[in-house]
């Protein structure tokens, strides 16, 4: 996967997480994912169509997700509360929105679908023409994983 296409996602995640979680972040690990994606915490998935196609999963440690959502709601929330899902989806929306803005400025054109909550434990097996990359962002209050599986019809 080309670094210039991945860097906007790293930059966007860094900026959005720092703002919404009110903390510093660092990328601790980047790996190619050859197995089926396995969810770690509470996750949202965004799909994209166009010059770049695929899906991105933003997966936040459960405790951290609950803390951020509870802080914003002003009350202690549980996993079942819809506001927690809303929080994950909006953070995913901001990360992907910022990244595709940058890619759009590089000349790539595509549409993104609104984020959806991803509840399955597993899913999204890779395919021959789709490369998947997993990034782990460390924060003082937990980890955030971003699983990016994209193909580039325009570049092939």
């Amino acid at each position: 996967m080309k670094l210039e296409l991945i860097q906007p996602f790293i930059n966007a995640a860094d900026a959005v997480l720092a703002q919404n979680l009110a903390c510093t972040t660092s990328v601790s690990n980047v790996t190619m994912d050859e197995s089926v994606y396995r969810r770690h915490g509470l996750a949202a998935v965004v799909t994209m169509k166009g010059d770049i196609e695929g899906r991105i999963v933003l997966d936040i440690d459960r405790e951290m997700a609950l803390r951020v959502a509870s802080n914003m709601a002003g009350a202690q929330l549980s996993d079942a509360d819809a506001f927690v899902s809303e929080t994950i989806c909006e953070i995913a929306n901001q990360v992907i929105g910022n990244a595709i803005t940058s890619l759009n400025d590089q000349g790539f054109h595509f549409r993104i679908q609104p984020p959806e909550v991803h509840t399955a434990e597993n899913g999204f097996a890779g395919s021959e023409d789709t490369e998947a990359l997993v990034m782990c962002f460390d924060t003082p209050s937990g980890s955030v994983f971003m699983n990016i599986a994209l193909k580039f019809p325009k570049l092939n």
Binding site: V16, E90, N93, N98, N104
Partner: protein, 148 residues
């Protein structure tokens, strides 16, 4: 959250009233907290463009914060319809997607400004001051004026 000098409407020294339009409750809550931190008041909220038009005519806010990508009716179309009802409406677009073409389209329809998410409170504060221009005053300025 950082505290800012309270902003008031110049004409009656009352809080600036906002309509927040976003399909994300999280985003609306986040903006509401920022608005309250500089003395603003949330006059109404909407989760889509159609409801935004109804809420605009019901609440007649001083300023609208409008998301772009929403269900039923997107923000740029809603902004255009509100501006047909009230050409002087102050609308600031707020979106995580900051394509040049989106920004240009929104400004051409009459939006006053564009903010990319995640919104920072200090940036929102500056944009509100810029868009309200002569129609806003800080509480300190209002108090100084009252004692003259």
């Amino acid at each position: 959250m950082e505290q800012f000098a309270t902003l008031l409407r110049k004409r009656d020294r009352q809080p600036i009233r906002f309509l927040i339009v976003d399909d994300s409750i999280f985003a609306r809550r986040n903006l509401a907290r920022m608005i309250e931190s500089f003395g603003g008041r949330v006059a109404g909220e909407a989760g889509d463009g159609c409801t935004a038009i109804t809420e605009y005519t019901r609440t007649l806010p001083d300023l609208v914060l409008m998301d772009i990508i929403m269900p039923q009716m997107e923000g740029i179309e809603a902004a255009e319809k509100i501006l047909r009802i009230q050409p002087l409406a102050r609308i600031v677009m707020v979106s995580s997607v900051g394509y040049q073409e989106n920004i240009i389209a929104a400004l051409e329809k009459g939006a006053r400004h564009f903010l990319q998410k995640p919104v920072k409170a200090e940036v929102l504060y500056d944009v509100v001051k810029y868009v309200m221009a002569e129609d806003a005053i800080t509480a300190v300025e209002a108090a100084a004026g009252a004692t003259r």
